[in-house]
Amino acid sequence: MSHVCINVCIQLYLLVCFLMILSAEISAAKNAEDIRCKCICPPYKDVNGKIYNQNVSLKDCNCLHVVKPMPVEGKDVEAYCLHCECRYEERSSGTIKVTIIVYLSLLGLLLLYMVYLTLLEPTLKRRLFGHSQLIQSDDDDVGDRQPFGNTRDVPSHSNVLNKVEHAQQRWWRQVQEQRKSVFDRHVVLS
């Protein structure tokens, strides 16, 4: 599996995730469990404090509908309900599920790719091409110092795979260059 396939796969995967998240919110059926009215009633006279939850809609979200069974009776009901605070809450469980699963799978993919790049690829390359090839472009001082030096970077084959592989290598070299300026020379982003 070359860098090419992995990069394309990651981009397709991200697109799919983005679409999934959007569709999850759009088509999230209002699960009956996803709305609730929460009433918190503090201690009153000799009644303990209690929390009441009910899956009612916004217009029914008040003390009289939610606090069942009513712990006090008669005239005290009004005073008790004045103490209580009722709040309507909504959530989208589908969105949460999709988001967390997408995020975890993305994280897992990135970790696998990282392990591959840092541990497996150098060993694979060494086994396939021998030791000498590893010392290829470590001195990639891509500057303007010798602009008229050998500029034979253009690959001779116009093979699509070769070109894309070349682009991948260029990305990796860019990342290495970034790493040098950020982590080693501390030039950008102290």
Binding site: N53, T95, Y103, L110, M114, F148, V175, V188, L189
Partner: protein, 768 residues
């Protein structure tokens, strides 16, 4: 200042009218007009390119229906880009919020039935929550309870502690490894670099796709690991990456660096908008803090992007209450004039803390930059994360996430609050609802909470200094707001108790009548948060707007303004720069701040190069230089451009040519044009004189010559020169005397000169 006479051609452009037939048949050189990495763009060239493009499209639009539609699409492409930016930023912010919510709780326990629910979501449908223990439900168990079965006792506590620290270390290790391997530019806050980019600097890859992906993923990990950092700065970076991503789809923005920066300004507004749920505050933040040039067109488009982003985030509804931010408060209790005194005191505290933080953080970052500490980034992150987790677990106020802490501090104590902070002594015979009671004496819980809060304050003040600037995405807004909120709440409770116990003093007598609301400690927390944030970042209007959009209380504008203004004054007394400008200076970016004033009496002749004793100015002549000579000049020097003069004797200025354009043109000419050899003569003039047949083919480079470089005379005061550089976004300016070229002033020279005038180190300016 004398603008060079002549047609205002730009490199790579067609020129109507007179011209050699050969000129028109010449192909333009490819890639001419693009910029090198870590260089500054030419704003004037970008602007005139855009005007030309627009004029071309408008003139062609009258020709056919197809072209008319194309011109319509071109006009609307800006709005489409804003829409896309808003959608993607809102989605990413929603994903980040949900993931952070879950992963933060993962450090303490897990939901058994549905593992992707956080603590609050897990207990959402449960009926077993009691009034005293609102957080407990059987579906969500702490790790100790899950592993050993017992939830109380010293062993369970130690196990929970150990696992908390372990999770924190794990998350931070993942974050720093991902940043290191995939996108080293994803670390830090991002706002200093974005400020520099928006002022015209190029950092290739800083706003790329991999940076976007890694920043989003590692931001969640960094925040969840319990480190003292926030996600607002990184969200601005994420939004700007989205802006860059979408602007590369349209050639109107991808080919023009100046137009792209307009899109990035708007994207920054969208970023702050989703971070705080404050669209207007976001636009003002982009205007005040981040952007360099902010034309009015950008104002409307930024607002649109911010609104779309806020709307998208709201529809994802990460916090379950149709709110955008975790600490949205809704009370409207009034405040009293006499309370302005503690508010101003909080402002002073904010200013002092801001100064302390900036100085300490810059010193620590400088140490990281120059000594061996900088060679162990992964180890540094692990040590700081471990230390933070170790010290944060025992204190219940630091154990939970900082956003939840702020939310609790901002909230007023009603019957819904069961926290220790609201442990006031209630009169059990009270028949009125709890809210209506004037201030009550604090119970033991409140005093215990005060101690813990004071310890949390000291902890946060110290640890944030070491956290901001590490090699993981880190923001500064939430920790500063936390510091301010803690200080504010402590002051608020102190004032409240003083008002209760000494209600016969003069100031309190009219203030707290029985039956009237008295002191609201939550408001003090908000004011403290605003003061500390203002002290660190030196925001003014945008801070107040963000704070009142956060709270929804227009009544609190005056206290917020009082605190913000005081903290800015106090902080400015010690040093003029906010944290972002200080980091820009630390990194040596070529950022010519619009807010600085240059009031010294130096002249252009004092700053220009070459100085006395330096080698003479490297110039090219209009005709007579061979390709070989030009190549040698480019190889030997590292100047970014060369002035072109009529001849070495007369030294009259013709134009200016950029090094990159020259290099590319010669390279292309050698490859594509026949007959161009080292002995070919380079002509920058319009007409080439007839040459003998044996002479090699001449190389015409008039296309890449800028015929209208900016010039000043040597007696121009530097004040004017700095103003020109700032207002026009110049990179270099030529100095003439009596019409003859004398020298050159570059942006780097200007910055070095300003640094010298301020007695700072002029060698710290590193880039051009």
């Amino acid at each position: 200042m004398a603008a060079e006479a002549g047609p205002s051609t730009t490199p790579g452009e067609e020129m109507n009218g007179s011209g050699n037939l050969m000129d028109i048949l010449d192909e333009p050189f490819p890639d001419v007009g693009t910029y090198e990495d870590f260089h500054t763009i030419d704003w004037l060239r970008e602007k005139s390119r855009d005007t030309d493009r627009h004029r071309k499209i408008t003139s062609k639009s009258k020709e056919s229906i197809c072209d008319f539609i194309k011109s319509l699409l071109d006009a609307w492409s800006g709005w489409l880009v804003m829409l896309l930016i808003g959608l993607l930023s809102g989605t990413l912010a929603g994903v980040i919020d949900l993931a952070v919510d879950w992963m933060t709780d993962l450090k303490e326990g897990v939901c058994l039935s549905v593992f992707w629910y956080s603590h609050e979501q897990c207990c959402w449908t449960s009926n077993e929550t009691t009034y005293d223990d609102r957080d407990k439900c059987p579906q969500w168990q702490k790790w100790a309870e899950l592993m050993t079965g017992s939830s109380e006792g010293a062993a369970a506590y130690v196990l929970n502690y150990f696992l908390y620290v372990l999770w924190a270390l794990f998350f931070s290790f993942l974050a720093v490894s991902l940043v290191r391997v995939f996108a080293p530019y994803a670390c830090g806050s991002g706002i200093p670099e974005i400020k520099t980019i928006l002022s015209g600097f190029i950092i290739r890859g800083y706003l790329g796709k991999w940076t976007l992906l890694i920043k989003t993923v590692t931001l969640v990990l960094a925040v969840s690991s319990g480190l003292s950092l926030g996600k607002e700065g990184p969200l601005v970076h994420v939004a700007c990456c989205c802006g860059n991503l979408f602007s590369s789809l349209f050639s109107k923005y991808s080919k023009n660096e100046g137009k792209r920066r307009e899109v990035l300004s708007a994207a920054a507004a969208a970023g702050v908008s989703v971070a705080f749920g404050a669209p207007i505050g976001g636009v003002l933040f982009s205007l005040e803090e981040v952007s360099y040039y902010f034309p009015l067109k950008t104002l409307w488009r930024s607002f649109f992007a911010a609104l779309v982003a806020a709307f998208t985030l709201r529809s994802i509804n990460p916090f379950g209450n149709n709110r955008l931010v975790l600490f949205y408060v809704e009370y409207h209790t009034p405040w009293y004039m006499a309370e302005l005194v503690p508010f101003v005191l909080l402002g002073v505290f904010g200013g002092l803390w801001g100064t302390l933080f900036i100085r300490a953080n810059i010193a620590w970052c400088r140490r990281r930059k120059t000594t061996r500490l900088g060679r162990y980034p992964v180890l540094e992150v692990l040590v700081v994360a471990g230390l933070t987790a170790l010290l944060a677990f025992p204190n219940p106020y630091t154990r939970r996430s900082t956003s939840q802490l702020i939310s609790e501090l901002f909230n007023d104590c009603g019957s819904l609050a069961s926290s220790q902070l609201c442990d006031y002594v209630n009169d059990p015979n009270m028949t009125r609802p709890v809210d209506d009671i004037p201030d009550r004496p604090a119970g033991a819980g409140v005093y215990a909470a005060l101690w813990q809060l004071a310890l949390a304050l000291v902890f946060k003040v110290v640890i944030t200094i070491f956290t901001f600037g590490m090699k993981i995405p880190s923001g500064l807004f939430i920790p500063s707001m936390a510091v301010g909120a803690i200080a504010g709440r402590i002051v608020g409770i102190a004032v409240e108790q003083m008002a209760y116990h000494h209600h016969d003093w003069i100031i309190f007598r009219s203030w707290c009548r029985p039956g009237a609301d008295c002191v609201t400690p939550g408001l003090y927390a908000m004011v403290g948060a605003a003061a500390c944030l203002g002290g660190v970042t030196r925001m003014t209007v945008s801070l107040v707007v963000i704070m009142f959009e956060l709270t929804g209380g227009l009544e609190y504008i005056v206290p917020l303004m009082a605190a913000a203004v005081t903290s800015k004054w106090v902080a400015d007394a010690f040093g003029k720069e906010g944290i972002y400008e200080a980091h820009i200076q630390l990194n040596g970016y070529p950022f010519l701040d619009v807010k600085d004033e240059f009031t010294h009496r130096t002249l252009a002749a004092d700053v220009m190069r070459p100085r006395r004793g330096e080698p003479p100015l490297a110039v090219l002549t209009r005709e007579g230089t061979t390709v070989e000579d030009v190549e040698a000049l480019i190889n030997e020097t590292d100047y970014n451009g060369f002035p072109v003069v009529v001849s070495r004797e007369s030294e009259r200025l013709v134009g200016f040519v950029q090094r990159r354009d020259l290099t590319l043109a010669i390279k292309t000419a050698r490859q594509k044009q026949e007959g161009v050899v080292s002995g070919s003569v380079v002509y920058f003039s319009e007409e080439v004189p007839p040459l003998p047949a044996s002479a090699p083919q001449p190389l015409k480079l008039r296309r890449i010559l800028n015929l209208s470089p900016f010039t000043v005379t040597d007696h121009t005061p530097m004040e004017t020169v700095v103003d020109i550089f700032r207002k026009l976004g110049l990179r270099q300016c030529l100095v003439t005397r009596s019409g003859r070229l004398l020298g050159i002033i570059t942006k780097k020279d200007v910055l070095r000169h300003m640094a010298q005038m301020l007695n700072q180190d002029p060698d710290s300016i590193m880039f051009n």
